[in-house]
């Protein structure tokens, strides 16, 4: 007679160990399906839907984070007597790291949850099996358009996040902290170059893709059933999406900016 707690522990550990393998396998098949040409109309509609659902959240979240960072930075810089220095810091740190990261997080919270619960609901109501019965490929019909939509929507959300964050910082700097309008804007943009926008676009593509893959995996391939599984799938998609977004953002920054640092 084994202790049920030990049995539970071993299952937890083995599923945790197997998870990366299953996720990797799903990633490979999903990418293959995405390349093989998903239905164009669905892809377009899903992209529009992603933007309509996620962009407002992205804009609000980054607007406030820009505002918050400006207040904090101005307070930290107050001892040097240069409040407009805060613009430099927010422009640099915000555009390079914080705004793309929060854009990814907002996408995971909104679109990731939605995609996962959609797909899991299709699983629960056996619509996926129905497609398979008819000889259609659910990966190509359901997963691929969602992946493409996320990959297109990601960079758009990141760029929107950068603009919104800078606007938040500018408005707080000018109207709350009383920094000169031109000086604040110049400080915000002073450290930025085209390269930062390019990196933002690259990051957006990868973060969007990751949010999409994680959400589709949690909704489509995760081992879970019953009506309550829809909520659980959404929950996992959000939190795992957020974790993956953070790690991916760090990796991309290291690859791109770390390289620049060495070359300088």
């Amino acid at each position: 007679m084994t202790d049920p707690r030990i049995a539970r522990l071993t299952t937890t550990i083995s599923t945790a160990l197997l998870w990366p393998l299953r996720f990797g396998a799903f990633f490979a098949v999903a990418m293959k399906a995405a390349v093989s040409g998903p239905p164009a109309k669905d892809t377009l509609l899903l992209t529009v839907r992603l933007l309509v659902r996620s962009l407002p959240v992205v804009l609000v979240v980054t607007f406030f984070s820009g505002a918050m960072l400006t207040v904090q930075a101005a307070a930290s810089m107050a001892s040097f007597g240069a409040a407009s220095m805060s613009g430099l810091i927010v422009g640099f740190g915000g555009v390079r790291e914080v705004f793309p990261l929060l854009a990814g997080g907002s996408m995971a919270a909104r679109t990731g949850a939605e995609l996962a619960s959609q797909l899991q609901a299709m699983r629960v109501t056996r619509q996926v099996e129905a497609l398979e019965m008819m000889g259609l490929d659910p990966l190509r019909l359901l997963v691929a358009p969602r992946l493409i939509a996320c990959t297109i929507g990601g960079p758009l959300c990141v760029i929107a996040a950068m603009v919104s964050g800078l606007v938040g910082a500018q408005l707080v700097g000018v109207f709350q902290l009383g920094i000169d309008r031109g000086a604040m804007w110049d400080a915000l943009l002073s450290t930025l170059g085209t390269i930062d926008v390019m990196v933002g676009l690259v990051k957006g593509v990868f973060l969007g893709l990751i949010v999409g893959v994680v959400a589709c995996f949690e909704g489509f391939a995760a081992d879970d059933s019953g009506p309550a599984s829809v909520g659980r799938a959404a929950n996992r998609a959000v939190i795992r999406g957020m974790i993956f977004v953070c790690s991916a953002s760090l990796t991309l920054s290291m690859l791109i900016y770390g390289q620049l640092l060495v070359n300088e």
């Binding site: 959240v57 609000v60 979240v61 406030f64 984070s65 505002a67 918050m68 960072l69 207040v71 904090q72 101005a74 307070a75 930290s76 810089m77 107050a78 001892s79 409040a83 805060s86 640099f92 740190g93 390079r96 790291e97 990261l101 929060l102 997080g105 907002s106 995971a108 919270a109 909104r110 949850a113 939605e114 619960s117 609901a121 707080v172 709350q176 902290l177 009383g178 450290t191 009506p227 309550a228 829809v230 909520g231 659980r232 959404a234 929950n235 959000v238 939190i239 957020m242 974790i243 953070c246 790690s247 953002s249 760090l250 920054s253 290291m254 900016y257 770390g258 620049l260 640092l261 300088e264």
Partner: protein, 265 residues
């Protein structure tokens, strides 16, 4: 044109109304939760559940962010040749802003969603109605401990986030970017004071109260369908993430004064 304006106006009114409902819910739930016999013990129990559920995600999210901060600060700092400033800067930014902010976002995503889904499932299974029939107050019994639990779990998770963030920054700076080990360790303490630490913990506690109230009230007011449970969890997550960032801005403004630097820390 009028139609667009009208829908905007309606949206704004809806937001205000939802906010009012959450505030009313928060007051009732926490007051009654504290008045229930054993209310505090239940809150501690919820805090433990929430902490164990969120610890790993918080660590996995804030660790890379600390590393990222070290990397980007170095790109900025190395041009001035003042590597010595890295550790104090990293400590200050992580403790004051990144750890409490991102820790609360993760708690909203993981813990908040589970609070909302749990309570919504109770609503769906008519368990909350059963409590009411028995003459018990479900808001005090179910929502109160969860809201207070989130406020208690906040500082614990914030401490973990600070440790993980600093570890991430250390690993990036010392192992990858070759900043001297002793320079980093000795510089850490220059970046913050005990007051900063306490403020950081207090912030997460306040965010915990807020997101607990938002998520619990979303669960209480959900539609009584399976889809409604999922929708309640999702709305709760999005609303509490927005709340955390907006509240963070307002708290910073309150702390540092409208003009910035009002309070010297």
């Amino acid at each position: 044109m009028i139609g667009i304006l009208r829908s905007f106006g309606r949206g704004a009114v809806d937001v205000v109304r939802a906010f009012g409902r959450v505030v009313a819910f928060f007051v009732v739930a926490t007051m009654q939760g504290l008045r229930e016999p054993g209310g505090l013990a239940a809150a501690v129990q919820q805090a433990i559940i929430l902490t164990s559920r969120c610890a790993l995600p918080v660590a996995l999210v804030v660790g890379p962010i600390g590393a990222m901060l070290a990397l980007q600060s170095l790109t900025l700092i190395r041009t001035f040749g003042t590597e010595k400033q890295l550790a104090p800067l990293a400590a200050a930014v992580i403790i004051k802003e990144l750890a409490p902010g991102f820790c609360s976002v993760v708690v909203a995503m993981q813990g908040g969603a589970s609070i909302a889904a749990e309570i919504a499932a109770m609503r769906l299974a008519e368990e909350l109605d059963a409590l009411e029939v028995m003459g018990l107050e479900p808001r005090g019994l179910i929502a109160g401990p969860r809201i207070l639990g989130a406020a208690l779990a906040g500082p614990l998770l914030d401490t973990l986030a600070i440790v993980m963030g600093l570890t991430g920054a250390y690993l990036m700076a010392v192992l990858v970017m070759d900043v001297p080990h002793t320079m980093f360790i000795e510089g850490l303490a220059d970046g913050f004071s005990v007051k900063d630490l306490l403020l950081s913990e207090l912030k997460t506690s306040i965010f915990g109260l807020g997101l607990g109230a938002i998520c619990a009230s979303a669960g209480f007011n959900c539609e009584r369908t399976t889809v409604g449970v999922g929708a309640a969890a999702n709305t709760a997550v999005v609303a509490s993430v927005v709340f955390v960032l907006a509240a963070n801005y307002l708290l910073n403004t309150a702390l540092f004064g409208l003009r910035g630097g009002g309070v010297q820390l």
